[in-house]
Amino acid sequence: MNVPRLAYYPGCSGQGSSREYDLSTRVMCADMDLELIDIPDWSCCGATPAHAVDHLLSASLVARNMAIAEEMGVSGIVTPCPSCLKNFKSTQRRMRRPDFHAAVEKLLGRSLRADLPVMSVLQVVAEQGVRTLPDRIKNPLTGLKVVPYYGCLMNRPPDVMAFDDPENPMALDNLLLALGAEVLPFPLKVECCGASLGVTKRQIVMRLSGRILDCAETMGAQAVVTACPMCQMNLDMRQAQVNRANQSNHHIPVFYYSQLIGLATGLDDRQIGLERLCVSPRPVLASLNGENREARS
């Protein structure tokens, strides 16, 4: 089988706050025979601050990584982080303008084509991996009630991200269904969590993330499933803050979808970094195992 070689851009948060996302993504992809090759000496994409200040400098940060990837002989670049992805995609779009392209090359001191396809790992898994998924499931997540939370960036702006429906995406829903989970309709699946405002204007994150957690609980979800390090951090790490700020009492685990795929395909808890989640998933998973055992007996 002709397996595409993909350049892997982990993103800064994968080295820190979302190490479990990076870990679980790597083992998930290895399990699916998706060959990920790290971009050697990759550097930060500039995240939110860079493009908020200067498009040219921000694009140059991204373009450096693209230029390295172009020399790797890969068929595309993937990243687990929608924020990084958005920077890659909008850089590509801006670089379609010849003057902008030339300015970036001048700043970098090297030339590049800026035309390698860039996708989220989620998109690759949803479009290619999902076919083989059912055969590899060892522990279906039967009975686990989840809400899929895509965040505001994964599918938007639609003409830049070009993935799934911008208002009612279903890729993550369908993946989770394939794992056997009970996927609840989630009206806030593309709402903003407050993103990086957690650092500068925390009150906004308290309100927006609080709303998402409220809604998840109202829907009867046992867990939230994300595909974004920023969303996951706001909903999971800041859940106690949100509770304090809103006088709420949420205690709902927030998984990365890659962790749940890992769980269902029989990967070890440590391989997928379950212990790194702030809100412990143990009680939910224990009840799930209990139920499944009952169902089996």
Partner: protein, 652 residues
């Protein structure tokens, strides 16, 4: 030949970028041109008088006018020639406005091109021959396609004028969109009370033949002599026998058929009469929902029908009608809001269209005129109306304003307050467009007297929350985000061309625009004509229209038909094909390629020859390029005439 050339300034339209005096000056050197001048407005009364006078004084026998498109004024100038006693086909027009002055700014280059065009016209004129139209009989019957309010008005006006009318309607009953409305703006009078009597008039008028559940299958012929094939779709009920008693509806066990008349709100039976005032009041069977027709067992309606009218074996049938004119009044359809994911894309049961809401308001609707939420049947308290759903939005390919949504939304907020005094309506709008008589006053009444809260801004999302809906949007006047919790959302869906409109346009050989609306002859001066003689337009098939405008157009189209039929005979266009018998070898290639069946093969002195039926020929010219002998020629566009033009332009 003694040719006169008249170069028109068209005010500054031509003169600004073409030196008309120089064009006239150059024309004087063309062969057989004996007179040339420029004129301020050649088409004006003094302009035409100048042409007549020049013809008489200079003994002219052919005229070239260099001005606008022949589509604009060819007929005008041909009449001028007739007044001066010349044959009107000894006339050529050089289009130096649309083809020259409006498209180029270089005065020198434009003047040169204008001179070339006049040279071409004069060269062709030298080869022109006088032509004489034949007369043909007019079939004084009219076909009206579409039984909505525009078609009803057109049909009644024609019939009252003494003309036989054939009215074809796709649905089982006439009445169209208006019959689904509860009340009408700005008078809030009952829609079915004002439309109902008109519908009854249609069924009772001795000059009107009504075919409902029928569609136009084929259209042949030409103005005065159209032949129309109508498909009468199987109703599975003998309508001669059916008395409309409704017993079949009571007993039909298949009660889960989507109710088309009620816009899918509520269910109906497989055999049904769409609504109490239906015309004709006859039952028909929805084949997809009928147990007998799908599974082969049931037949309850056939057992209970006192008139023994049920006929499960009925097939589509065809009737052919001969008419002299056709009025297309096929109306519009509603935008499918599923394209808007932010409004739920059709996933939320209490987010409905404005026409569905209209059915909830109507006493003959599925809830008996009580406003209830489709999801749980509860009365709503807070209702959000969102305007411009599928209007004025380039991103979904609907950049135009549908025109009537502002008004019906205002009406629906007023009716909502009447039905539910404790309710609160909110309207998200882009702009209020209410430019009709008493229209703006009406929208103000909705706000000021009925307390509808108008919020200028778009909605970004509708999200279900605790059995209600959270509507998030912008208030662009406050410059703030707003959130409203509501029990129900009504989307003011815009108008789009009726399903199948382009296909019908092609049958009628009329043009349609990029959105499927039929194209009028001229946006200002020929609003109900088309570019096909004898085919007229009425109502929203030409573009979104409210009821008063649709009715006005219905009457206007009827007026056009009546004036067409005021003559007993029409003059045929002599610019048709003609066969040179000496050259014709009788191969019949022309007869096989003619798309109109206008060529028949005859025997002349023992030899096969082609012969043109002049009233059927449309002058397309396909036969002339098919003929291996050059024996068949299109009059006024013969090979020699066209070659003369080419030689004039390319003399070397």
């Amino acid at each position: 030949m003694r040719i006169g050339v008249f170069v028109c300034h068209c005010g500054s339209n031509i003169e600004a970028t073409v030196d008309t005096v120089a064009v006239a000056e150059a024309a004087r050197d063309f062969p057989e041109v004996v007179f040339a001048t420029d004129a301020m407005y050649a088409c004006s009364e003094p302009g035409q008088a100048g042409i007549v006078e020049a013809i008489r004084e200079n003994d002219l026998d052919g005229v070239v006018v260099a001005s606008c498109s022949p589509r604009m004024h060819e007929a005008t100038f041909r009449r001028t020639l007739e007044r001066a006693g010349l044959n009107k086909y000894l006339f050529e027009m050089a289009n130096i406005r649309e083809h020259v002055s409006w498209v180029g700014k270089d005065r020198t280059a434009n003047t040169g091109k204008a001179i070339d065009l006049v040279r071409i016209a004069a060269a062709k004129l030298r080869c022109d021959a006088p032509l004489y139209p034949a007369e043909f009989e007019v079939s004084k019957r009219v076909l009206v396609i579409g039984g909505g309010v525009a078609g009803i008005q057109a049909a009644l006006d024609c019939a009252d004028g003494g003309i036989e009318v054939v009215l074809v309607e796709r649905e089982p009953s006439i009445g169209g969109k208006m019959s689904k409305l509860d009340k009408t703006f700005p008078t809030v009078d009952c829609s079915s009370c004002i439309l109902g009597p008109r519908m009854v008039d249609i069924s009772q008028h001795p000059l009107i033949t009504l075919y409902t559940l029928s569609e136009v299958e084929e259209v042949g012929g030409f103005v005065g002599n159209f032949t129309v094939k109508v498909r009468r779709k199987a109703a599975y009920v003998d309508w001669e026998a059916c008395t409309g008693c409704g017993l079949c509806m009571e007993k039909c066990p298949s009660k889960r058929v989507s109710d088309r008349f009620n816009e899918g709100i509520g269910k109906t039976t497989a055999i049904n009469i769409p609504f109490p005032q239906a015309i004709p009041k006859k039952a028909s069977i929805d084949a997809q929902g009928c147990l007998m027709l799908t599974k082969g067992k049931c037949g309850v309606c056939a057992k209970v029908c006192p008139a023994k009218a049920i006929d499960f074996t009925q097939q589509d049938s065809f009737v052919e009608e001969k008419v002299g004119a056709i009025i297309a009044a096929t109306g519009y359809d509603l935008f499918d809001f599923a394209k808007y994911g932010e409004y739920g894309g059709g996933r939320y049961p209490d987010v409905i269209t404005s026409l569905q809401y209209e059915r909830l308001l109507s006493a003959s609707g599925p809830t008996g005129g009580h406003i209830k939420r489709p999801s749980d049947g509860k009365e709503p308290r807070d209702i959000v109306f969102i305007q411009c759903v599928g209007s004025r939005d380039k991103s979904i390919g609907r950049p135009y304003c549908s025109g009537f949504c502002c008004m019906y939304t205002a009406k629906q907020t007023i009716l909502t307050k009447d039905h539910l005094p404790d309710s609160q309506s909110y309207v998200f709008y882009m702009d209020i467009r209410a430019p009709g008589k008493l229209y703006d006053e009406f929208t103000r009444r909705a706000m000021e007297d009925y307390g509808a809260r108008y919020i200028r801004g778009r909605v970004s999302a509708i999200q279900p929350r605790n059995g209600r809906y959270l509507i998030k949007g912008a208030d662009t006047l406050l410059g703030e985000q707003v959130q409203i919790e509501a029990d129900m959302v009504v989307l003011a869906v815009g108008a789009e061309a009726a399903v199948g409109a382009p296909a019908l346009a092609e049958k009628l050989r009329i043009s349609y625009d990029a959105y499927g609306f039929f194209l009028e002859g001229h946006p200002k001066l020929k609003p109900v004509e088309t570019n096909t003689a004898g085919v007229y337009l009425a109502g929203a098939c030409q573009g979104p229209k409210d009821i008063p405008a649709s009715v006005a157009q219905g009457s206007a189209a009827a007026g056009k038909v009546l004036s067409l039929f005021s003559k007993d005979k029409l003059a045929s266009d002599p610019q048709v094909s003609a066969v040179n018998l000496q050259r014709c070898v009788g191969c019949a290639k022309c007869a096989s390629t003619c798309p109109f069946g206008a060529i028949e093969m005859t025997v002349f002195r023992g030899q096969n020859k082609a012969s043109v039926i002049e009233t059927v020929c449309q002058g397309c010219g396909i036969c002339t390029v098919t003929c291996p002998q050059g024996a068949i020629q299109l009059r006024h566009f013969t090979d020699n005439q066209l070659l003369a033009e080419v030689h004039a332009l390319c003399p070397y």
